[in-house]
Amino acid sequence: MTSQLNHLPSAKEVGTYDPQTLESNFSDLHPPLTQRQAMIESQRCLYCFDAPCVEACPSDIDIPSFIRQISENNINGAAQTILEANILGGSCARVCPTEILCERSCVRNHDAECQPVLIGLLQRHATDNMQFDSHPFKRAASTGRHIAVVGAGPAGLSCAHRLAMLGHQVTIFEAEQKPGGLNEYGIARYKMTDDFARKEVEFLLEIGGIDIQYAQRLGDNLTLDTLRHRYDSVFLGLGLGASRALGLTGEDAPGLMPAVDYIKTLRQADDLGSLAVAKRCIVIGAGNTAIDMATQMARLGASEVTLVYRRGVEAMSATDHEQEIAKANGVRMVTWAQPDDILLDAQGRVAGMRFAKTADQAGRLTTTGETFEITADAIFTAIGQGFENASLSDATAAELARDGERIHVDEMFQTSLPNVYAGGDCVKPGQDLTVQAVQHGKLAAHAIHQALAAKQEAA
């Protein structure tokens, strides 16, 4: 996966390598609350009526209720409150940008103390410490229906779990060798420690009625047409696997690669020391992937990491909190500059990049004519993701109505094709958040269930 960086040294060979330090560089970014801290923090919740935090939560978790359960030392109750709204509540507690969601709307921000309740960490406390003798959700009587879910990422898993709960049989088709989607392959390693993504899926599957088939890729060894004929309904929870290209010459030069591909390797690495490290590197982009890439490269031992964005800081899609993490790790942020030329050395490998300075001219981004160069051994692109071309190319999939590149769905997550639903990153552009994908999957499951029930009544 990182063959593009084969000429670079490994983390072992960079700087003063110490395996323990390297491991600890990728341990929990925000350590969990202790029992005592959780009790104190839970007391700060005002148990608001019609709470603004719930309104802000894309997955409708009853936040005041689960926090009150924590305060009453009812951890299993708190966990169940979270999980019945969001079965991936454990990973959302780790990866949600709470600073722009629930915690931003906490009324404690308006209070004299100007500090929200630490909702994300409390959610993690509940989901980390729950201890159920058996899976907390029970399946309804079998409906005899069998539903296909494409993609074992947050949207697909959430949909599958809810469908199983409603009494349906589910088969998930997953392109990779492991479930979890971005939780397994995409999120920064220090946000998902201790193999949490795998454990969470194991927990989710305990409900029963869900089987996962791996290495099943839509448009490759799987077609939407087959799925529609074989199953009562289909849910598409596709990820956006293809990275946008810069559109410059030299894009395939050794030393240049998409950030998501590097992160995927990093997430799966058993030995961090074996990873290729660029002593000086450039990350192009301004989203959370760019931040994750830059920060992780710095933590692997790179001495100079520069993140370059063509607009200003205020336009970055990475939250302030994420930007702070990057800065705290020594990442340099360069704004108002866009890639102009990939600089290569005599062997045709990446040696740096020339940037054109940009400016905002009445809302339009223009180049000023000035350029500058940054020396680097590697360039990582994080300028957006799209569908892999093949995935929606079979005759039936090609019929799907689109919203731009994404699949068009109505408010019931139904696509333009009967019995085909979709949710998560593959539908209309939103914030592309894990929590939103979970909500889509859950709501789509209910829509599928209702549609099947209505069909049964009509028959």
Binding site: Q43, F49, D111
Partner: protein
């Protein structure tokens, strides 16, 4: 120097000294003839069990001490595991109970220590708590021994709710007005200094006990003793706390949680026409200077503290003296006497309240944090007097529906922001009217 009986170190003006003048205010009291440099006394309890603790308390600046209850020989025997707490959610102790008995040290040792401590600390009040069986001989025997110590007075422990009543002492006496009167009478007969009768709250009407004490010749009463209680149950082992082996028993409850109960009982006695001038030493959950000021305003001439000291150590008297004296200076009260009983004229029976008075809630929209707590409290459990509105920008807005508001204060109580909701008295144009005189009252009395 003997560490147990260290002579008081006197630094004039030093914060923890026994100086009665603090922040320019005279905190000294003369309570039923017992003088003390300040009204803060330690109640008869574990903190006053022996000379070592009492000397530390005096060194810390306490104005007086009621020595833990003396009894007949042989001394009481205590169990292991004695206290239990009623916790708030942040592990702050709201209330506290104990199943300890009176002193478990010999009478001779206690008397010897009391004598020495009083000699070393002549300016501090030293009162000896006593509990012996309900016969005159027992009292006639112990009282001269206590008198010989030079202590300033005695306090009759007629309220201990556990262990001792089963032996015919403590609350067994305090719950019987005739016995209170009789024991008080014996004490006045066999002891020349002030006699304070400590009352138990485990009765129906506290005034009956105070009246009996007065009839027996008591110089003062002190209240409240602890309340019968079970603080919590260990649900795994199905046994209450404190747990002795595999069992438990009810204990005496004290701490902040009992303060409202104690204040009412103090006020009941202070405004009882049968005991109008009977000095009261207030006890019950006093933890801050403000608690003390409130007890004094309701008629206490001194206050006794135990739980707060047990939870924080003796040093709290510093903040209590400092806070009380600053507040007194600000209000222009030159002495404790100057504001004692000040709240009594305004404490009355329900039937004398002004039925025409009207107050309604007002929400300061600038301070509101939009939590909706006032709304749901009023909507679900009160008078549906708060409207939930939405501003153009989606912000929540809560407004009082003035014509529906009965002025119950619930919204103000639930509001987490201080001063956001205030209760505003309304001009009704109606005269003062007590329910006693209200035409709507079928049992009215002519005004």
């Amino acid at each position: 120097m003997n560490t147990t009986f260290s002579t008081p170190l006197s630094f004039p003006g030093k914060k923890n000294s026994g100086d009665s003048v603090v922040n320019g205010v005279d905190l000294s009291v003369n309570f039923a003839g017992i003088k003390a440099p300040n009204p803060f006394w330690l109640a008869s309890a574990p903190p006053t069990d022996k000379a070592y603790n009492v000397v530390r308390a005096y060194e810390a600046g306490w104005g007086g001490v009621v020595w833990k209850t003396l009894g007949e020989e042989p001394p009481a025997v205590n169990v292991s595991s004695r206290y239990s707490a009623h916790y708030g959610k942040n592990r702050e102790v709201i209330g506290f109970n104990n199943i300890e008995l009176i002193t478990d040290r010999s009478l001779a040792i206690n008397l010897k220590e009391i004598t020495q401590v009083k000699k070393d600390w002549p300016d501090r009040a030293l009162i000896v708590s006593i509990m012996v069986p309900c016969n005159e001989e027992a009292w006639a025997y112990i009282l001269p021994l206590v008198e010989a110590t030079g202590a300033d007075g005695i306090e009759l422990n007629l309220g201990c709710p556990h262990g001792m009543p089963e032996r015919g002492m403590g609350a067994a006496v305090g719950q019987n007005p005739d016995l209170i009167e009789k024991v008080t009478y014996w004490c006045k007969k066999h002891y020349s200094k002030p006699v304070i009768v400590k009352l138990t709250p485990n009765i129906t009407d506290i005034r009956v006990g105070a009246q009996a004490a007065l009839r027996g010749g008591a110089d003062a009463v002190s209240l409240i003793n602890t309340i019968n209680s079970i603080t919590s149950i260990d649900l795994d082992n199905m046994v209450a706390k404190p747990t002795v082996g595999h069992q438990s028993t009810h204990g005496g409850y004290c701490g902040s949680a009992v303060k409202p109960i104690a204040m009412n009982m103090v006020a009941e006695i202070a405004r009882d026409p049968a005991t109008p001038t009977l000095p009261i030493s207030g006890i019950g959950g006093i933890s801050t200077w403000r608690d003390a000021a409130e007890f004094i305003a309701l008629g206490s001439g001194s206050v006794q503290v135990c739980t707060a000291a047990m939870l924080n150590g003796f040093r709290i008297v510093e903040e209590m003296k400092d806070g009380l004296s600053r507040w007194m200076a600000e209000k222009g009260y030159a002495s404790i006497e100057a504001f004692s009983r000040k709240a009594i004229p305004q404490t009355t029976d329900w039937k004398y309240l002004d039925i025409n008075f009207k107050t309604i809630a007002k929400i300061d929209q600038d301070l509101c944090i939009e939590c909706g707590r006032c709304y749901i409290a009023c909507e679900d459990t009160s008078h549906q007097s708060i409207a939930k509105l939405t501003e153009q920008d989606g912000a929540r807005r809560y407004e009082v529906i003035e014509e529906e508001c009965v002025g119950c204060n619930l919204c103000q109580i639930t509001c987490p922001v201080e001063n956001c909701i205030t209760m505003v008295p309304q001009e009704t144009g109606k005269p003062f009217l007590a329910w006693d005189n209200d035409p709507r009252n079928p049992f009215r009395v002519a005004s």
